[in-house]
């Protein structure tokens, strides 16, 4: 079976998870800009980015947890609680840096509790973070029912979400810096490499000297810190905190990560992919809004498009991979000759199982391995 060089190259590109989603993303932008002349204006784009920043931050933190093979369901309620503590501190007259520290510290504290119970006591991550979701949402309700949290007058605080630097919105700038740092941490530091190793095979990593428990603890702290930061931005944006704030954000963040091609089974993923997923969801809701679609349809359209995008990504990837393998079985999509893939270990994982995308049961067995 001979395959032309062009189709071979194409196959190689599409064999990477998330590429099909990226193509759909571009298609979506083209569609919306044709449908509405206002879509590609500067004001709308900066609006869209500002709207996506919170989810992007949460998804970036979630990436670390997913790479290790865990899950963090508490990020939504921790975001809400951090927003509340920041507002509370600032309204009690604390200076801005203290308020920010308290907000981010709230997230870090939640992450430390999550990480300690999961990594040190060995309790199931889903349940621990679910309990933390409950506790965080409950504390938010307790705080907001006792104090009216609204109307901080600090200019500097409101600038965080409303200001701009040379026309670039401040929250977008903050998010870009945070995401860049996180991406660097994940792909270029020993901590990041250990995270991939712990996600691919905890036992093997342990035997190879990777401090698996410490890494597992670390990713939950990181995810909590991201949620704390997102909470500060959310408080600055709304300048008012109510009970139920940011509830359900955890599922949107996970959806964003999965849209970007990050596996829930662990060992694969990178921060930019999760951010791409967050932008995908943000663009979708902004575009639907511009087209005047009834907001009641949003959850339906979002649900359907997530399934469609992930399904298409799987199908396209499977076809591309089988063409590659059919063309030359001795060179599966590997890191050395594949397209530029910042998630290096992603490709390593692909090599190890030589064909992870055709191997459905892999997800199940990896989940078993990490929980047992």
């Amino acid at each position: 079976m001979s395959v032309s060089p062009l189709s071979r190259r194409l196959s190689r590109v599409f064999a990477v998870e998330g590429v099909a989603v990226a193509v759909i993303f571009v298609g979506m932008i083209v569609f919306f800009s044709l449908a509405s002349p206002f879509f590609l204006t500067g004001g709308n784009i900066s609006n869209l980015l500002i709207e996506s920043v919170i989810i992007a931050l949460l998804a970036a933190g979630m990436t670390f947890v997913l790479v290790v093979g865990g899950i963090d369901l508490s990020v939504g309620s921790v975001t809400g609680l951090s927003a509340a503590t920041t507002m509370w501190a600032l309204m009690s007259g604390a200076p801005l840096p203290v308020g920010l520290l308290i907000g981010i510290g709230t997230g870090v504290l939640a992450g430390v509790v999550n990480g300690a119970v999961i990594a040190l006591l060995g309790v199931n991550d889903f349940i621990v973070t679910l309990a933390m979701l409950s506790v965080g949402a409950g504390l938010l309700q307790v705080v907001t029912s006792n104090v009216q949290l609204t109307g901080v007058e600090s200019e500097a605080f409101l600038w965080l979400a409303g200001g701009d630097v040379l026309g670039v919105p401040a929250p977008v700038l903050i998010a870009v810096v945070v995401v860049a740092v996180l991406e660097f941490v994940l792909i270029a530091t020993p901590f990041g490499r250990s995270a991939y190793a712990a996600g691919i095979g905890p036992r093997a990593a342990e035997l190879a000297g990777v401090p698996v428990r410490r890494v597992r603890f670390g990713v939950y702290v990181l995810s909590g810190a991201c949620a704390g930061g997102a909470g500060v931005l959310l408080a600055s944006k709304l300048n008012s905190v109510q009970s139920g704030l940011a509830s359900g954000y955890e599922l949107t963040a996970i959806a964003a990560a999965v849209l970007g091609g990050i596996s829930l089974a662990g060992g694969r993923g990178s921060v930019w992919r999760a951010v791409l997923g967050a932008l995908f969801l943000g663009t979708l809701s902004q575009g639907l809004q511009m087209l005047g679609v009834d907001p009641l349809w949003f959850t339906i359209v979002t649900g359907l498009s997530i399934v469609a995008a992930v399904a298409l990504d799987r199908v396209v990837g499977r076809i591309a991979l089988s063409r590659l393998l059919g063309a030359d079985p001795s060179t599966p999509a590997g890191p050395s000759d594949g397209p530029a893939d910042p998630g290096g270990p992603t490709a390593d994982a692909a090599l190890e199982n030589d064909d992870p995308r055709l191997d459905q049961p892999l997800a199940g067995s990896a989940r078993e391995a990490r929980t047992s």
């Binding site: 309790v123 307790v142 999965v258 949003f298 459905q360």
Partner: protein, 351 residues
């Protein structure tokens, strides 16, 4: 309680009976601790003991009768969730499927359709949505978490659109009063409680004594091994989602009868409670482990937890904090009992 005392026959790795030479207290302790539901039963006893001191009205017939009425919905969802978890999946859509089925029921009854037919169509809605979940997951290969999360969005969105934000009311015809438990069947026995017991017994029988049950445990413990030994893995997984959807619809029909209105937000957040109940009851998210009786006990634990808040006159704003803490304690106890049974020696309970 007979379910509690028999060994998990359907579990693929049935623990061999330890040599019963001399049965000292350590053996007895080991026996107790090794029961899959030891953690949850211990927690329940603990809460009840504390409550008996704090609130004298806790240990009354009236209060426990109320608890039984309240736990039905989460119990039904938790039974379905347990079956899905046993096969190694997860179903985040049960709350929204509950809502949409309740909406179908209320709407059709209002249209004056024959009651039995309404019931059939409402339950059929749940089964259909479960079938879609199963097909999307097995045939399209989409991760279960994502597929059922999408279904959550779609089903709850549909109910919102359909009701237009205004609750469905006025469907409480006399038959529905009986079905919803407003009028008891005989004495104090109400239809929802009867339905819960019947469904729990049938589900427990199915998971322990039928080939479907054995296959479900097999698929959850090791999908590849199950496939190689000739189990139709996809069919078992699809069936689990269909059962989960069907039970969610049953819970929806009963919940509509209890609340006498179908608000657009009915069932929101129930999926989390169902998962929590199943896990408190000993189901593992990794698959291959879980018990129907455990799910029912887990649902009871959650219901008792919220009852505690009412009786102990804690401000309701603290409710979810308390539920979260109880959840953590439950899993901690489960962990501790596993550790303890390992320390006491002998084969570990089936994973």
């Amino acid at each position: 309680m007979t379910l509690l005392t028999t060994s998990p026959a359907a579990s693929p790795e049935t623990s061999p009976t330890p040599p019963a030479a001399r049965r000292g207290p350590a053996d007895l302790l080991r026996e107790v601790v090794r029961r899959p539901s030891a953690g949850v039963v211990g927690l329940l006893v603990l809460i009840c003991a504390v409550m008996a001191f704090l609130a004298p009205s806790f240990l009354t017939y009236g209060n426990w009768y109320n608890l039984a009425q309240q736990m039905v919905f989460v119990a039904l969802l938790a039974i379905g969730m347990t079956i899905v978890l046993i096969t190694g999946g997860i179903d985040l859509s049960v709350g929204s499927v509950l809502g949409l089925s309740a909406g179908v029921m209320a709407y059709l009854v209002n249209q004056g359709m024959m009651f039995g037919l309404c019931l059939l169509l409402a339950v059929g809605t749940g089964a259909g949505l479960g079938l879609i979940n199963g097909l999307v997951i097995t045939k399209l290969g989409i991760p279960d978490f994502v597929a059922t999360l999408a279904m959550l969005g779609v089903a709850s969105g549909l109910l919102f659109l359909w009701t237009g934000g205004v609750p469905f009311t006025g469907f409480m015809i006399p038959v529905y009063d009986t079905l919803g438990g407003v009028t008891p069947l005989a004495g104090d026995l109400t239809a929802p409680i009867l339905a819960m017991v019947a469904i729990a017994v049938i589900a427990a029988f199915m998971m322990r004594r039928t080939s479907f049950g054995r296959h479900a445990y097999g698929v959850g413990s090791n999908r590849e091994a199950a496939r190689l030994s000739g189990v139709d893995v996809a069919r078992v997984r699809i069936a689990a989602y269909v059962i989960s959807g069907t039970l969610a619809a049953c819970a929806g029909v009963l919940l509509a009868g209890r609340t006498t209105a179908v608000a657009p937000t009915i069932g929101v957040g129930y999926e989390i409670q169902a998962i929590a109940a199943a896990v408190i009851g000993g189901a593992a998210l990794a698959g291959g482990r879980g018990r129907i009786l455990g799910a029912v006990l887990g649902a009871l634990t959650l219901t008792v937890a919220s009852n505690v808040i009412n009786l102990a006159a804690v401000s309701p704003t603290w409710q979810s904090v308390v539920v979260g803490v109880i959840l953590l304690v439950a899993v901690g106890l489960d962990r501790a009992s596993t550790h303890l049974s390992r320390r006491l020696g002998g084969p570990a309970p089936s994973p």
